[in-house]
């Protein structure tokens, strides 16, 4: 076996930050290599150096046995290195073939015209060769995220990439698309290509990679064959201490019914499945989970519960009072806290600092305002206490929300919502895009709430998470609850069928 890429003692210093500290990485040709680490461990910086976006402060890059230094991505591309960024670099109104060939268009008539037919033919052939199944004539804006990602892979292959770097490739994909991507990895390595992918998900690294290199705080912690390690060992390497991967849910006495949802329905908008005829109840001291493939009405249902929209029919009763048509403000005052799905769009105002973000939703609470004037000192104190209690880093209330990593943003949102002292917490995808250390912490917080007698409604597309935390669990498909199950008794197979919308043989309801 030959070595495709070797990084030797790479150090990268930014003003005030040591992003990479003497990092070594050896990638064998024809293998899948996972670069594993928590957010901010220096994985992306290292790959940007290999791709010519940054110049290393120190260290050696060896590609195919030759020492190289890339002053631009162009040079890296010419050396056969392609990178697929987390945010795709695609032109939406253009077709797949136009995007793939952009900047390297096949010409005809002495260069006067683009040979559009040749472009389509070449891209179709490449797509065929690596089993990518992409229609070269489809405009990008009509394609799913998974297909767009494969277009990016085609772009790199078209430019002659032998080594493909993918930055968090699964972050934007559905579970099915992840499966497809992993099989594409196999096709590519079978034909001699080398893949380096950045991830913070243990399961993926174990499932997809041949070798795994773990980075922490900008340093190489170790490289290991995926077959010779375990999730627990990797987690410890990543975080630097022992991590509880299994969620332990101590028994808690279930309290009285707090929220009763009775046959709510809402019409769909723009083809997204709506909610139809959903009924359930949530109790104090209970975590009620909602599982399902994304886009099956979870978002619409949660909007009905939080007061962001109102149902076309049905009723919602909270603590003995009908709140079907009350506003979000009214529900905040009643003690319904909400950790939204999209922390950038709904959870935080990104350019605002943490003091201002901590105030969001509290701006009418008497401890922060006296008839119209905001008490900024109190807000500052409030933000500081959230930061301290939830270990938000950097511990600086004046930092803007956008300067924080995803995990720290999420910890801050969870802290803010819990500081409202809620009776009911609605948490949607609370650990999406969050590293394992923070995930563990957020899970602990949810369980603590449950013990304190708060009702929690948890929506997550991570099956492990929703099964581990929930006392009862509904499976949603196409806007309806297919079934409500006991998460400890149900098998993975049964869940899969329910998520696909297959009705259970026994019509048993809890």
């Amino acid at each position: 076996m030959t070595t495709a890429v070797q990084l030797d003692g790479i150090t990268k210093r930014f003003p005030g930050v040591l992003a990479n500290d003497d990092v070594d990485l050896t990638v064998e040709q024809g293998t899948v290599h996972a670069l594993l680490g928590e957010n901010g461990a220096g994985k992306t910086t290292l790959m940007n150096i290999l791709y010519g976006l940054y110049e290393p402060t120190d260290g050696r890059i060896v590609v195919d046995g030759d020492e190289r230094s890339f002053e631009s991505p162009r040079a890296a591309i010419d050396a056969g290195i392609g990178m697929i960024h987390q945010h795709f670099m695609l032109v939406d109104p253009m077709t797949v073939a136009e995007n793939v060939t952009l900047g390297a268009e096949p010409r005809k008539w002495g260069g006067l015209a683009v040979d559009a037919d040749a472009a389509v033919r070449d891209v179709a052939a490449l797509s065929e060769q690596y089993g990518l199944d992409v229609d070269p004539t489809a405009p990008i804006e009509t394609l799913s995220v998974g297909v767009q990602q494969r277009t990016e892979i085609l772009k790199a292959l078209y430019r002659g990439a032998e080594v493909l770097i993918l930055d968090e490739p699964t972050a934007v994909l559905t579970p099915q698309e992840v499966e497809e991507l992993l099989s594409i990895f196999e096709q590519l390595t079978d034909q001699g290509k080398t893949i380096i992918f950045i991830t913070h998900k243990l399961g993926e690294a174990m499932a997809a990679a041949d070798d795994i290199t773990v980075l922490r705080d900008g340093q190489t912690i170790g490289s290991i064959a995926a077959a010779d390690t375990s999730r627990e060992a990797l987690a410890e390497m990543m975080v630097g201490r022992e991590v509880l991967l299994e969620i332990e849910r101590p028994p808690v006495e279930r309290g009285s019914t707090l929220l009763t949802v009775e046959r709510v329905s809402t019409p769909s908008q723009r083809g997204v499945p709506a909610v139809s005829d959903v009924s359930f109840s949530a109790h104090a001291g209970e975590i009620f989970g909602i599982a399902g493939v994304d886009g099956n009405g979870q978002r619409e249902l949660i909007e009905l519960l939080t007061g962001l929209s109102t149902p076309a029919s049905g009723s919602i009763v909270f603590d003995g009072e009908v709140i079907t048509h009350t506003s979000r403000r009214d529900r905040i005052e009643r003690g319904i806290a909400y950790v939204p799905e999209d922390r950038h769009a709904q959870g935080l105002v990104m350019p605002f600092d943490l003091v201002e973000n901590g105030l969001l939703g509290n701006q009418r609470t008497s401890s922060f305002t006296d008839t119209g004037r905001i008490d900024w000192d109190a807000c500052h104190e409030h933000a500081s206490s959230i930061i301290e209690e939830y270990d938000v880093r950097p511990p600086n209330p004046s930092a803007s929300a956008e300067s924080l990593s995803g995990g720290n943003q999420q910890k801050f949102i969870v802290g803010r919502e819990l500081a409202r002292d809620p009776a009911l917490l609605i948490a949607t995808h609370p650990t999406r895009g969050v590293d394992i250390g923070s995930t563990e912490f957020i899970h602990e917080q949810l369980l603590a709430l449950r013990e304190a007698g708060v009702a929690v409604i948890l929506v997550s597309s991570k099956l492990d998470e929703v099964r581990g935390l929930s006392d009862r669990m509904a499976v949603m498909h196409d806007g309806t609850f297919v079934d409500t199950v006991d998460p400890d008794a149900v098998t993975e197979e049964e869940l899969g069928l329910l998520m696909a919308g297959e009705q259970p043989a026994r019509g048993e309801q809890q």
Partner: protein
């Protein structure tokens, strides 16, 4: 059940929209009909060689400016100063003819003046990242002041003396066709316009440069990572917009043979109509040319309608009211995603 509710609501919405469009368009037709009946005009006056010829002459400034605007905006730089390019080109063309005595030399002088303005605009917007709309308005205001001012300094009046102008070139045979024969009995700038419309369409849709212009306005970062210099593509596009608008302004002035600088100058807002024309044509050169023909036709019509009982100043608003109505009725132009945004390479 729910899908029925949805489709009902959708149909209702669509009907409401259709109905609105219908009301707008019929109101316009009715107004035009009333105007017609108050004058002695007949349909035969409109479908005639004379009418088509006048329309083509008026199309020159609007269509060339629109073609220029397409390149600039597609590459991500909104050039709202097309009016300014037309004014300065018109003045420089006439001044050039007066100085050299050659119409073609004047034509080149006009193009050169407009191109210089475009270079200035490109540097301010791309290099110094000024707000494109403000910089574009500045170009217009500078030209609006500079043209008549230079005319006063050189010729003692905001209006230049009458000079030589482009002569009509008649293509034998084709020109004697009924009505459309007027297409082949026009001045050189009009023939140049035919070539430019097809040429621009070809460049934008079938050349690599056209692809780059498109990508530069939609997702400059994608173009940059593909190894193409976004800044260079934008410079070329903006300068091209100055060249094209320059041909329009110079060609228009030289078909009249005089620069008139009073009020809004002889250009009279045609640079702004050009912006509407390319938006209405959805950034397609051929679409922009057709919408230009519509506005130019209305302007020609408006001149003839002034013979009726209605006050002339009211009749003059006809083309502009039509613009508003047509925009409201069509209203689905897709602007480039990154238009108006600055781009800096290495913004990782």
């Amino acid at each position: 059940m729910t899908t029925e509710v949805r489709s009902m609501a959708e149909i209702a919405q669509r009907l409401k929209r259709r109905w609105l469009e219908l009301v707008l368009v019929s109101a316009l037709l009715l107004a035009l009909g009333v105007l017609f009946s108050t004058t002695g005009l007949t349909l035969g006056d409109v479908i005639s060689k004379r009418f088509l010829g006048a329309t083509l002459r008026l199309s020159v400034p609007i269509a060339f400016a629109a073609l220029g605007g397409i390149f600039a905006e597609k590459s991500g730089v909104i050039n709202i100063g097309l009016e300014g390019h037309l004014i300065i080109a018109a003045f420089a063309a006439i001044a050039g003819v007066i100085m050299t005595g050659s119409v073609w030399a004047g034509f080149l002088a006009g193009i050169l003046a407009s191109t210089l303005f475009a270079v200035l605009f490109a540097i301010v917007c791309i290099e110094f990242q000024a707000d494109q709309v403000i910089a574009g308005l500045a170009i217009w205001l500078v030209a609006l002041g500079l043209g008549p001012f230079l005319s006063t300094v050189l010729y003692g009046s905001v209006n230049t003396p009458q000079t030589g102008s482009f002569q009509t070139i008649t293509i034998p045979g084709l020109a004697s066709l009924p009505v459309i024969g007027a297409l082949f009995d026009v001045t050189p700038p009009v023939y140049l316009l035919y070539v430019a419309v097809i040429g621009c369409w070809y460049v934008l849709n079938h050349t690599a440069f056209g692809r780059w212009v498109n990508a530069s306005g939609e997702n400059p970062q994608a173009l940059d990572t593909a190894g193409i210099d976004v800044i260079r593509v934008r410079y070329v596009s903006v300068i091209l917009s100055g060249v094209l608008a320059g041909i329009g302004g110079a060609g228009y002035a030289l078909s009249i043979g005089q620069f008139t600088g009073s009020g809004e100058t002889m250009i009279g807002g045609r640079g702004f109509i050009a912006v509407v024309a390319y938006l209405l044509g959805n950034y397609n050169p051929i679409g922009a040319f057709l919408s230009t023909a519509l506005f130019a036709g209305l302007q020609t019509l408006q001149i003839q309608l002034q013979t009726g009982v209605l006050p002339a100043s009211l009749v003059q608003t006809v083309p502009y009211i039509t613009v508003i109505v047509v925009l409201a009725a069509v209203g689905h132009t897709r602007t480039p995603a990154a238009a108006g945004e600055h781009y800096e390479s290495g913004d990782e």
